[in-house]
Amino acid sequence: MNRRPLAEATTRYRRRKLVDRVMTALAYLCTAAAVIPLTWIVIYVIYRGLGAWDAEFFTALPQLYGDGGGVRNGIVGTLLIVGMATLMGVPVGIMAGIYLAEYGSNRLGGVVRFMADTLTGVPSIVVGLFAFGVVVVSMGGFNAFAGAFALAIMMVPVITRTTEEILRLVPNSIREASLALGIPRWKTILRVVVPTALSGIVTGVLLAVARVAGETAPLILTILGTNFPISLNPFEGPSTTLSLQIYQLAGQPSPQVVEVAWGAALLLVLMVLGLSVAARVIFRGNAHTRF
């Protein structure tokens, strides 16, 4: 039997302690490596962009040279197009997610899941090209709807998968309790399972919105971009968003125009961050959905 005293500091023990310290230090370094880029970007964007924020920035149209100009139409466009995309993508995504979670353990479910996962990986420019071919060409022009269509396509698989995952987390005992009361399956899903998972579903939606709010490539081919006021009718003429304006203004020779682009970048970053934070807060806030 091994009767060595507990406190004896053997070489093996000392080496183990050293390895432990080195690995801990490495873990901290890696965390820093992950966190630093994000913090750096945010700080730098604030630094470059805050100066551009004034009343004119939020209310005027862009100017391609000289001082002044704003991104009013970009703000309107982002809200309009992302809003439309959400209205189109959310119902489809949630219903697909419900199907996969509640009825989808069959072959069709496997196919749908695979297609959703594949669609998440399709390059955004390709989605834009698709929207260009299907919407822009057939409608005869660039418009906001085509952009919303492209963004909706990108949102659907994300929402589908997060909805499915969160519904799977609802314990089966809840479904059983409802079915045993003689509540039909569809009503069980709609009135019991989905409300239980609601905060998680909303989180998934907000994260999907945050993701597409910053997309640029699919919009280049669908809304074209413009420095004129945009129509609130999404089928009428080219439109623009903050992300597209950043792209178009940042390439201009005039430094004041570039500064406006930075201001737009700051606004966009804050919007996306705001959505992500809201998503986390909502998910944490509902105690009764923690099972």
Partner: protein, 264 residues
């Protein structure tokens, strides 16, 4: 216990076989469940007691590939007839599960009436009356009457289980199935639930699966002993009779061995 019990049969089971895919889980089970009596189902783990009780309200059908052969009748009607809707069966044969499962997004009040939200719209006064009546029958009213709007999950385990009982009672089923209702609870809650069961039998019929033999002996009028001959074999109803007889003078050796604790 009366010499001959004239309580009518509310459910009958005739030569029931249950399959999960090609695997036979239950073989040739027959029994009579008498009205306003408590029937207990005992037996070692894995003998099909829970499987069997779920066949009484067609809850086993949630598992894909599950099917039955044989007849199960409720008030003389075969519940497995092709034109029968399982939803209607479940409204007349209610179930309480082993782990309490109140709906987490609903208040205590809403939990109790959750099953009622199907049929006709009822007035608030009618719903209030149902909530109070069923919570009293479940021996929970006094403890929650001042906090009906709080979440169903804010209660202790024993209280949640009694809430689930009240929720089942709100539908006024004829038969209440209980699948080990007290096995996840402390002795005090268990006692309360047993007391509630004895009160319930005045108005309802109860079938309970239990691992706790003393509980079966305490509360039930009839007992069915389920047994499995070997691993991979289907479960069978080895013996069925009045509780007093099963526990003091059973017909079959395996029954006697089980109730005297020689194996468990």
């Amino acid at each position: 216990m009366k010499k001959s019990d004239d309580a009518p049969a509310v459910m009958t089971v005739e030569h029931l076989n249950m399959y999960y895919g090609s695997f036979m889980a239950l073989k040739d089970v027959s029994m009579v469940i008498r009205k306003n009596r408590i029937t207990a189902l005992i037996g070692p783990s894995g003998c099909g007691k829970s499987t069997f009780i779920r066949s009484l309200n067609r809850m086993h059908e949630i598992v894909p590939g599950a099917r039955v052969e044989g007849r199960v009748t409720l008030d003389g009607e075969d519940i497995y007839a092709p034109e029968v809707d399982p939803v209607r069966v479940r409204r007349r044969v209610g179930m309480v599960f082993q782990k309490p499962n109140p709906f987490p997004t609903m208040s205590i009040y809403d939990n109790v009436i959750a099953g009622l939200k199907l049929g006709r719209k009822r007035k608030k006064s009618e719903l209030d009356e149902i909530v109070e009546r069923t919570l009293r029958q479940a021996a929970l009213w006094d403890e929650v009457k001042n906090k009906l709007s709080e979440s169903g999950t804010s209660l202790s385990g024993g209280q949640q289980q009694r809430l689930c009982i009240a929720r089942t009672l709100a539908l006024e089923p004829e038969v209440i199935l209980m699948d080990e209702p007290a096995s996840a609870l402390d002795p005090v809650s268990t006692q309360k639930i047993e007391d509630a069961m004895l009160e319930l039998k005045e108005q309802y019929t109860v079938v309970i699966v239990t691992h706790n033999m003393q509980q079966a002996a305490r509360v039930s009028d009839y007992t069915g002993f389920f047994f499995i001959e070997d691993m991979g074999q289907p479960g069978q109803l080895w013996e069925f009779g009045e509780t007093e007889k099963i526990f003091s003078n059973p017909d079959r050796k395996e029954t006697e061995d089980y109730v005297t604790g020689r194996f468990g």
